[in-house]
Structure formats: C-alpha cells, structure tokens
C-alpha cells in the first residue's frame, strides 16, 4: 500500500487538481508554484547525482580499473569547480555590501568559478556543439546511398533547401524572371513553397498527433493504467 497505492493516489490527485486548476483564476497560478517546487526538488536531487558521480569515479580509481586516470581527472575537475563555486572563492565583493563575502559575484572571469566557466566550460560545450557540422555532413553523405523513395525525398528536399540558401542557388536559377510562369522553378521560390506549405503541414500534423499522444499518456498515468514507474518490490 505504501509502495503502490499511495504513490498512485498522489499522482492521480496531483494530476487532476492541476487540470482543474487551469480553469479558475484563483488556482491558475498553481502551475507556476508547482514548477517552482520542481526546480527546488531538482536542485536538492543534485545530492543524488553528485553522490553517484563520486561513487562511480572513486570506485574506478580505487579498483584501478582501466581508465581510472580519467576518473581522477573528472573528480578533480568536479571538486575544484564545486568548491570555488559553493564558497564563492575569489568572488568580487558586492558594491553595496562588501562586508558580506557570499553576496559577492563569483561568475565573473576574474573569480575562479567564472574563469572555469569562460575558459573551460564554454569552449568545451561550444566545440561539442560545433562538431555537429561534421555529423550533419556525414549523415548527408551516408544518406546518398538512399535506396527508397522516402530517403530520396528527404535528401532531395534538404539539398534544394541548402542550395537555395547559398550563392549557388541564385546562380543556377536566379535568371528565371520572377513574374514568369516558370518562376516556381527558382530555388528561392521552391524553398518558400516547401517551407511554408509542405513543411508547415507536416509539422502541424505531427504537433496535432503529439498533443493527442500527450493527452493519452497523461490520462494513462493519472488513471493508473500505466504503472511502470512503480517498483514491484
């Protein structure tokens, strides 16, 4: 009962309450309150994440499993960042309250936490993001081996759209007069037609389907049809 019935009751009542809350001005702000609670809960849950990160990496180091040196690097980077961030080491004092150390700013580049952010975290994450350029290219090249009509449609469209965004598009079809009967052959006109009509229609239908899927999923959870989140122990 404590393990299955009560969680199901909590889920159902929380869900139903928030559905009804949407329709009255007195309760419409509950959504925001609950989202605020979730943010706090997520921040508290960091303890679990940090605990897991420490446990996994310490175990790897102590058992000298292959790659333990990398685990040590992770732990070191984690510990340093956490300490300088939590204690605001080297923070620039707040002009209004220079006597309160913790009121200072630790996210400026001259403080260690800000330095780590600017010179380590940002370059690392943005380079990881930039790697997408290679992956986009490799996905496109592989798809050239496309054998069925679906893949050809996907790639052909991608090619037209890409071409229309470059100077090559203008060069190839820019000479077709814009007010002629054949203007639809211009790449920029094709791009507009594809994005405004076909892509919009496709994405619209996907969105409608998603909305119904979300509704059905929510109902399955609220009415206890889907209980997979519950432990059976």
């Amino acid at each position: 009962m404590m393990r299955r019935t009560i969680p199901m009751l909590i889920l159902a009542s929380a869900g139903l309450l928030l559905i009804v809350a949407k329709f009255s001005p007195f309760t419409v702000s509950w959504q925001e309150t609950v989202l605020g609670w979730f943010n706090i809960l997520a921040a508290v849950a960091f303890v679990l994440g940090a605990g897991n990160l420490l446990a996994v990496n310490l175990e790897q180091i102590s058992s000298r499993r292959p790659g333990w040196a990398y685990a040590a690097i992770t732990l070191f980077a984690f510990a340093v960042t956490l300490v300088v961030g939590m204690f605001k080491v080297g923070a620039v004092p707040n002009g209004m309250h220079p006597d309160i150390h913790l009121a200072g700013a630790h996210d400026v580049p001259q403080a260690p936490f800000g330095w780590i952010y600017d010179y380590m975290l940002v370059p690392l994450t943005s380079t990881m993001f930039a790697m997408l350029a290679f992956y986009v290219a490799s996905a496109a090249f592989r798809a050239f081996r496309a054998k069925n009509i679906e893949a050809i449609l996907l790639l052909g469209t991608a090619f037209i759209i890409l071409l229309s965004q470059t100077a090559a598009g203008m060069f190839l079809t820019g000479w077709i007069p814009e007010d002629s009967v054949f203007s639809f052959l211009r790449l920029d006109v094709m791009k507009r037609g594809i994005t405004e009509h076909i892509q919009t229609a496709g994405m619209r239908a996907i969105t409608i389907g998603i909305a119904l899927g979300v509704a059905a999923t929510s109902l399955r959870l609220i009415f206890g049809i889907d209980k997979s989140y519950l432990s059976k122990t």
Binding site: A12, G95, A103, W115, A158, T195
Partner: protein, 379 residues
C-alpha cells in the same frame, strides 16, 4: 572498421603502424615549432591578454543625526533618528553625501577596497591608453591568468575536435574535464539560484539576507512562503531517503508527485497550445482569392492560383499525415495509399528542416575556428 574495432575490443593491443606513427610525430614537431615561432617571434605574440584593473573602495557610513545639524534642529527630529539605529550603508569615499555632511563615516570600521579586472586584447588596450590617467584608480597591466585561459580554451577545443578523427586520450581528457566541471557548475548554479533564494529564502529570509543575499526581496506573505517551501523540502527529503539503508521506496512518492503534476499541466497545455491552435491554422480555404486592381482602377478579387495550391497542399498534407498516425487500421488499400502520401509529406518536411539547419551548424564550427585563429593564434 569492423576488424579494427574487434581488435580494440580484445584489449587494444593493435600493432602500431610505423609510417603512421612517423607522420604523427612529424606533424607534432612541426606544430610545436610553428606555435613557438608564432608565440615568441612575433611582437604581438599569441593569446596575449591585458587587464583593465579598477580599484574600488567602499566606506561604511551612516546618516548624520539631525541633532548635529548646526541650526534649526528640533528635538523631535533628533529623537526620531537615534544614532544607534541609523541606517548604515557602504558608499564610495567620494560620495556626495559625505561631502555635503548628510552622511558620516562610522568610527572604527576600516574601508574595504578591492580590484575589478576586465580582460582585453592588446589592440583594445591601445585604444584605451589615452583615456587612462597615471595614478588614478584605473590601470592596465598584463594578465597572465587570462592568457593562460585562452591557451586552456584553445587546447580543450582542439582536444574535442580530435574526436572527429577517432577516440583518443586527448578527447578522453577533455571529456573527463567537461563532465566534472559541468556537473559541478550546474550544482553550483542550482544552489545559488534556486536553493538559496527560493528554498532558504522562504524558510529563513533573515539569515539569507544577513549572510548571502542582502537584496532578497521582502515578501508580503512570509508565513505562506515558508509553508509552501516546506512542500519541496519534504519531497526532497523523501527523494534523498534513497541514500538511507532502509525505506528507499519512499522516493517513489516525490516521483509520483512530479509525474502527476507534469501529466496534469501538459494534458491541458498540449490541447490548448498544440491541438487547438494547430487545428485553427489548418482550417484553410481551398480556394484563395487575392485583392487586385482592375483595368479601370477598381478593386477586384482575383483567383490566386499558387495561393490555392499552397492552401490545398496544406490541408491535404495535414490530413494525410494524420492518416499515417492512425493506429487502428493497417496501412492497406485506400488508407495505405493516403498514409504513404503522409509519409512523403513527412519526409519532405524533415528534409526541409534538415536543409535549414546545415548552415547554422557550419557557422558554429567556423566560430570555433575563428576563436582558434584570432583569439589564440592571433593570425
């Protein structure tokens, strides 16, 4: 690919390929020599950074009591502002209030001073040089810590990029640093931007104001705030109970609460924002006219061929893709044909979205190269 991966799986004892190794050593030597030449032989060097250092000073002041005012002082006023409870604040030593006598220094409290630093490039320093007076609070000095930062950033960028070739120790180092730094970063952000202001700030606002956030806004309903903050505190406590040796099952309660609220919020949200809005947008006229001007200059309605085509395509597209999503009927016969048209619409949509993204991704990569070449190599 497959033979190499299997070899790696069996312990990674792959025989080194001699010509390859030589090539890499040659490349490394060439790189190091090139970098050294670039760094030490050119006058502007590479990754050189300066700091604009500003000295800031603050003194603790309080309002000068009215009793000390030389004339026109009224006893009532003086009593209303007893010195012991006079509002104290930290101000610049050049504050106008000090000069005018409305503020006075608090005895026995030393001024606090510190320096703020802003990193700039040598070229920017030249532009600033004329504006800075010697002996003033602002000066420019070399900033080795920022130069080091540029080097670290550049090396980490290269380490990550090396993954394009294949997995290697440099990438693993960068990955390990990234995991450690980013996990801690978000925890620190969560602590200082959520736990302190929202949780502790509601439960014990005075403590938070005294030790961490003096500018925490004063709530008009402190009791209610504290009561409401107990809910996530309790939920968090249940979640963390997993770490206890017994009773870890209670962590399902907060999870059930989160899933329940998410389901409730998203059910209505999806129907309102996604379903209804998209339905309206899909209700297009199948014949489109446009307003034009007739031969005599009068307003006429003209049949808009491409507008009509676009509109019909839009409606047909939505209906055929919805047919594709229909789960109850097998994709055979008329339904199958319609669903197939739906798939084509989907594929063209995806292709279009794909094509629109490519340029953005390439731009991101170019920005990283720009960082390497301009900020680091200074070419």
């Amino acid at each position: 690919m497959s033979d190499g991966s299997q070899a790696a799986n069996q312990g990674g004892a792959r025989p080194a390929k001699r010509p390859n190794t030589f090539l890499w050593i040659a490349l490394a030597v060439f790189g190091i020599v090139g970098l050294s030449l670039n760094a030490f032989m050119r006058p502007e060097g590479m990754a050189k950074r300066l700091s604009v250092v500003t000295t800031v000073e603050r003194v603790l002041v309080e309002e000068a009591p009215a009793a000390l005012a030389p004339e026109g002082s009224q006893p009532a006023e003086a009593a209303a502002a007893p010195t012991a409870t006079a509002k104290r604040k930290w101000v610049d030593p050049d504050d106008a209030g000090l000069a005018a006598g409305t503020l006075r220094r608090v005895e026995g409290v030393d001024p606090i001073s510190w320096e703020t630093r802003e990193s700039i490039k040598p070229s920017e320093a030249e532009l600033l040089a004329g504006e800075i007076k010697p002996g003033g609070p602002v000066r420019i000095e070399p900033s080795p810590i920022d130069s080091l930062g540029i080097w670290v950033a550049a090396l980490l960028t290269l380490f990550i990029l090396s993954f394009v070739y294949r997995d290697n120790p440099f990438y693993k180092v960068a990955e390990s640093i990234l995991i450690g730094v980013s996990a801690a970063y978000w925890m620190v952000v969560g602590f200082w931007s959520t736990i302190v202001p929202q949780l502790l700030g509601s439960l014990a606002p005075e403590v938070v104001r005294a030790y961490a956030m003096p500018s925490l806004p004063v709530s008009s309903t402190p009791g209610l705030d504290a009561a409401l903050a107990f809910v996530p505190l309790l939920l968090g406590f249940m979640l963390l109970w997993r770490l206890a040796p017994k009773g870890g099952w209670i962590s399902v309660w907060p999870i059930a609460f989160v899933i329940g609220t998410t389901a409730g919020i998203r059910l209505v949200g999806a129907i309102e924002a996604d379903l209804m809005r998209q339905l309206v947008a899909a209700m297009k006229p199948l014949v489109v006219f446009e307003n034009g001007v007739g031969a005599a200059g009068e307003a006429v309605r003209m049949f808009d061929f491409w507008g009509t085509v676009g509109s019909v395509v839009g409606v047909v597209g939505v209906l055929s893709v919805l047919t594709y999503f229909f789960f109850s009927v097998d994709h055979k016969g008329a339904v199958g044909k319609t669903a197939r048209v739906g798939i084509w619409f989907l594929m063209i949509s995806f292709g279009s979205a794909f094509g629109l993204t490519v340029m953005g991704r390439i731009t991101l990569l170019l920005q990283r190269f720009e960082f390497l070449f301009t900020d680091w190599l200074n070419i």
